[in-house]
């Protein structure tokens, strides 16, 4: 008998129990696998997507804004934004210094950004020139990536700022045409849903790539050369007369296209910071009381209604007219004058007398048909409609003052457009800020005979004896009208604050351009439309007509300078 061996007992039940226990554990594991891989898949996959599925925006190229001749006014250039996924970045001090230098930030600032290890996306530098960004990538730092973006660049800078506007950081239009034609310009960004590995490399697309649709170019009606010219002359006048603001609009009178539109004060759209008060496109969104520049419409209305003829004599007496408790004044008593001289001398009394010969709705119709009280539909954001009270509520004094542009408000753009009736033999043209393929059909407001008659009267305005001899243009006949109005401040006319304006057209024999100039609060002593706004008109009109090669309709020695000692023909309320 062996010593110890027989005592060893290895009971079969213990072996079976253990085996079953082990196999049972494996069965539990299989059960768990079925649960995870068959039943929890949606939840787990969604968690997975949250970790490594990313939707990439494929930015669409924003369309260019170009002038009528194809010159660029707004261009999108590709830029690169450098970003990092801090947990994946491995960098030594030398490279950190290099990187900081290339990014033009402080090394301490950079390392602070990279220490953000609980974030997986940190911008290191936005909008770098592509060649500088390429140098960053040459450092080969893992976890540092580029993102293609577009930066908007405005070659014309301040000159066309108000009209074109600008875009924000997200490439969305914020102001002006950039805002008005946002959808047209922006196109449609595409997207890609991808799985990325931990280092940010794209591994696969999860669904079909949505290809970006690039934005379309926008052709403005603007002529960049005339725009520069208009801006330059306006700026000069605003500075010279220490004015608060100013606006100028150059219209192609035959098509209604805006060839130039500028404002002061301006701003640089390439760096639109601290622009409050300077970003408004005053010529389109602000309204003002136009003053005497409305007299031609009063004249046209009475000629159309037949209550006056061009040669009807009007007694302006001693230059005052009392209606109810209020009295209308002229700057110079003119005595008995005809309609043409009412315009030339800008007689308020004469205009009021003409207006009072009309039924209120007749005058209202004239104003309404030339677009007062209604936006000019130029499709510009925030376009002003102006204010034209319904004729049913007019008092006689209102009807009288409106005849010379008080008690009625409108924008410079509305005023410029209204003048197309005198340039186009009675037809008013719709306004367009976009280049047109063919001239639009206008609407006849007055007869061509009336239009020509009034245009003839407007020619007298720039002649000696008129209010704006400084608006004459060498080689071209000019027809136009001055306006000098007290500003409305808190519902009261301020005695020492004026809006000086001049609006006119040339060549008067067959008008091609209408230019409206408005100078707000000239404060160097001169404030008459003829002497403040007139020279701006003259300079811009002359050069613009020559640039457009418009045939002259007058000899080059046509400018008649009033004698030195001649009294300035004033107009004021």
């Amino acid at each position: 008998m062996a010593r110890a061996q027989p005592i060893v007992l290895l009971p079969a039940w213990r072996r079976r129990t253990l085996l079953i226990a082990l196999l049972a554990c494996l069965t539990v594991l299989l059960g768990r696998a079925v649960y995870l891989q068959g039943m929890r898949t949606d939840f787990l996959q969604q968690k997975g997507d949250a970790r490594y599925s990313r939707t990439l925006v494929l930015s669409a190229h924003r369309g260019m804004i170009i002038d009528r001749n194809g010159e660029a006014l707004a261009i999108s250039t590709p830029v690169e934004s450098v970003w990092a996924s801090p947990p994946d970045v491995t960098i030594n001090t030398d490279k950190l210094k290099n990187l900081a230098q290339l990014l033009r930030i402080k090394p301490s600032e950079l390392s602070k950004k990279l220490e953000n290890s609980d974030r997986e996306f940190v911008y290191l530098k936005r909008r770098m020139p592509p060649e500088e960004a390429a140098r960053v990538m040459q450092l080969g730092i893992p976890g540092v990536f580029l993102q293609r973006e577009y930066r908007r660049f405005y070659p014309a800078g301040d000159v066309a700022a108000h009209l074109i506007g600008f875009t924000g950081v997200d490439d969305k239009g914020q102001e002006g045409m950039e805002l008005a034609y946002q959808d047209w310009l922006s196109g449609k960004a595409g997207s890609r849903r991808v799985i990325k590995d931990r280092q940010g490399h794209i591994i696969e697309d999860q669904e079909a790539v949505k290809v970006p649709q690039d934005g379309r170019d926008l052709s403005l009606s603007i002529d960049r050369n005339i725009q520069y010219l208009a801006y330059r002359e306006l700026s000069r006048a605003v500075e010279q007369h220490k004015a608060k603001a100013g606006g100028i609009i150059v219209l192609d009178s035959r098509t209604g296209e805006v060839l130039a539109l500028a404002n002061q004060p301006a701003y640089n759209p390439n760096n639109p910071v601290n622009i409050a008060g300077r970003s408004r496109n005053r010529a389109i969104v602000d309204i003002f009381e136009p003053g005497s520049t409305l007299k031609p419409f009063t004249a046209a209305a009475v000629l159309e209604a037949g209550t006056y003829r061009a040669d009807t004599m009007i007694d302006t007496g001693n230059g005052t007219l009392t209606i109810g408790r209020r009295t209308i004044h002229d700057a110079h008593p003119a005595g008995v004058i005809d309609v043409a001289h009412v315009i030339q001398k800008s007689s308020n009394v004469g205009a009021a007398k003409m207006a009072l010969s009309l039924q209120p709705h007749t005058l209202w119709n004239m104003f309404n048909e030339v677009g007062f009280g209604e936006s000019a539909h130029a499709n510009f954001p925030g376009e002003a409609a102006g204010r034209l009270r319904p004729w049913q509520h007019w008092q006689p004094i209102e009807q009288a003052t409106m005849s010379y542009g008080h008690g009625i408000s409108l924008s410079l753009l509305q005023l410029a457009r209204a003048y197309t009736i005198f340039a186009n033999d009675g037809e008013i043209k719709p306004i367009s800020l976009l280049k047109l393929k063919e001239p639009p059909i206008g609407q006849h407001v007055i007869s061509s005979q009336t239009a020509q008659t009034v245009r003839g009267m407007l020619e007298l305005v720039v002649q000696p004896g008129g209010t704006a001899p400084k608006a004459q243009v060498m080689g071209y006949r000019v027809a136009g009208k001055t306006g000098t109005a007290h500003k409305l401040v808190d519902g009261q006319y301020a005695s020492n604050r004026y809006v000086a304006s001049f609006i006119g057209m040339a060549p008067a024999s067959n008008p091609r351009l209408i230019i409206a100039v408005m100078i707000d609060e000239p404060s160097d002593g001169q404030y008459y439309g003829g002497s403040v706004a007139g020279p701006v008109f003259s300079a811009v009109m002359g050069e613009a007509l020559r640039k457009l090669a418009v045939p002259q309709d007058a000899p080059t020695n046509n400018i008649v300078i009033p004698p030195e000692d001649a009294q300035e023909v004033k107009e004021v309320v």
């Binding site: 007992l9 290895l10 253990l18 696998a33 891989q37 996959q45 970790r51 591994i203």
Partner: protein, 386 residues
């Protein structure tokens, strides 16, 4: 008339072909999956020189060494293993002490588990698992008479286990201790230890584990991370949440071999402790099922080899065979359980599959010993000398 019975047919072959094929399949599958799981990591890592085949080459090398070690181990009679068991165990203890000595043991991720040799590193705990199985089997046979005695049968082994446990927890290598303790308890159980002692031991172990976990904040952190990985998915629950996502992405048939996203540096330890998660993602439930069934097959084979040995009164061989089966089974179970979020993260590899030199060699030797037991069984059955 001569009838060839089923048993006769098994006896007719010289070795357990089924076990051999299961082992080779798992090892080969492991090589493929280690490569798949490690490519991205190896390429991105400066330590590997950005070689995508860094781990593939090493794993293949380990398999070669493991195969040779297995061939050598297969030549050793179980009697020799039995005689050498106490000495091997002492060597194992010595190595566990060595690994703790600064300058000899190397620390990685806060654990001191590796002894760097000139060309490779040695992980003593992997070999300790085999030595412990041999030692406890020998102990149980030697102390067979005292198996129902608390002082003579149980206390000495408890002392030895506390020593091993103390050393392993100094590293710390909680997983290896859990495996060794499971193996020891299983062998004692199979050797007929008193049921009351066994239950008391289990209760003590449970209390002890809980105390250990509460006493050490890093283990507690692992516990809470495993309870709800979504509570802190970018912190404590990071690894497990990614492993679970891998399972969810795999669904039934997987995303395809090589197509795992989790292995792209999201899931840490994808080629070692969390290899199964990559298998689950790339090959789906089918892949997991295949792995589990293979391990089940190895356990079943180990137990039936043991049964055969008992019939021949070869008690050490029987206990050793079962010990090896329990080792591989328990380690696989814990690893898979960890991968699936059923158990706290342990730092245990998936036997036969995961990357790791010491583990692979120790696993190969263990299987060779198991096959040696079977080979001897067959020789005895045929009346041939061992």
């Amino acid at each position: 008339m001569y009838v060839v019975s089923r048993k006769d047919r098994i006896v007719a072959t010289a070795y357990d072909e089924g076990l051999l094929w299961a082992s080779l399949l798992l090892l080969g599958f492991g090589l493929v999956m280690v490569y798949s799981a490690s490519i991205a990591m190896a390429e991105a890592d400066k330590m590997t020189g950005h070689q995508s085949t860094y781990f593939l080459i090493r794993h293949a090398l380990y398999l070669g060494i493991g195969g040779m070690a297995a061939l050598a181990a297969f030549q050793v009679p179980t009697k020799v293993w039995q005689q050498g068991a106490p000495y091997l165990f002492l060597i194992g203890l010595a190595l566990l002490v060595l690994v703790l000595i600064p300058g000899i043991g190397r620390e990685v991720n806060g654990s001191r588990r590796w002894i760097p040799l000139v060309v490779a590193t040695l992980q003593p705990s992997e070999f300790m698992k085999l030595f412990a199985a041999m030692y406890v089997a020998d102990y149980t046979v030697r102390k067979a008479a005292y198996m129902s005695s608390f002082t003579k049968g149980f206390m000495p082994m408890l002392g030895v286990m506390l020593l091993v446990g103390g050393l392993l927890l100094r590293e710390p290598d909680f997983g290896a201790f859990a495996v060794i303790a499971s193996v020891a308890i299983s062998i004692l159980w199979l050797g007929g230890i008193n049921v009351r002692i066994f239950i008391g031991l289990l209760a003590m172990l449970v209390v002890g584990f809980i105390l250990l976990i509460w006493s050490s904040p890093y283990r507690l952190q692992r516990i809470t991370g495993f309870m709800d990985p979504w509570a802190d998915p970018f912190g404590k629950g990071y690894q497990l949440s990614h492993a679970l996502i891998a399972f969810g992405r795999g669904e039934w048939l997987g995303v395809g071999l090589g197509a795992s996203v989790e292995k792209l540096l999201y899931l840490p330890e994808a080629h070692t402790d969390f290899l199964l998660a990559v298998i689950a993602e790339e090959l789906g439930f089918v892949g997991v099922l295949a792995v589990v069934l293979m391990f089940a097959w190895i356990i079943v084979r180990a137990f039936s080899i043991a049964k055969e040995a008992i019939l021949n009164d070869r008690h050490f061989s029987a206990l050793l065979a079962q010990g090896i089966g329990v080792w591989l089974g328990v380690q696989a179970t814990i690893n898979i359980g960890v991968n699936m979020g059923l158990l706290p993260t342990k730092g245990l590899t998936l036997p036969l599959l995961s990357f790791g030199g010491s583990g692979i060699v120790a696993n190969c030797v263990a299987l060779a010993v198991l096959m040696r037991v079977d080979w001897e069984n067959r020789r005895i059955a045929k009346g041939m000398p061992i």
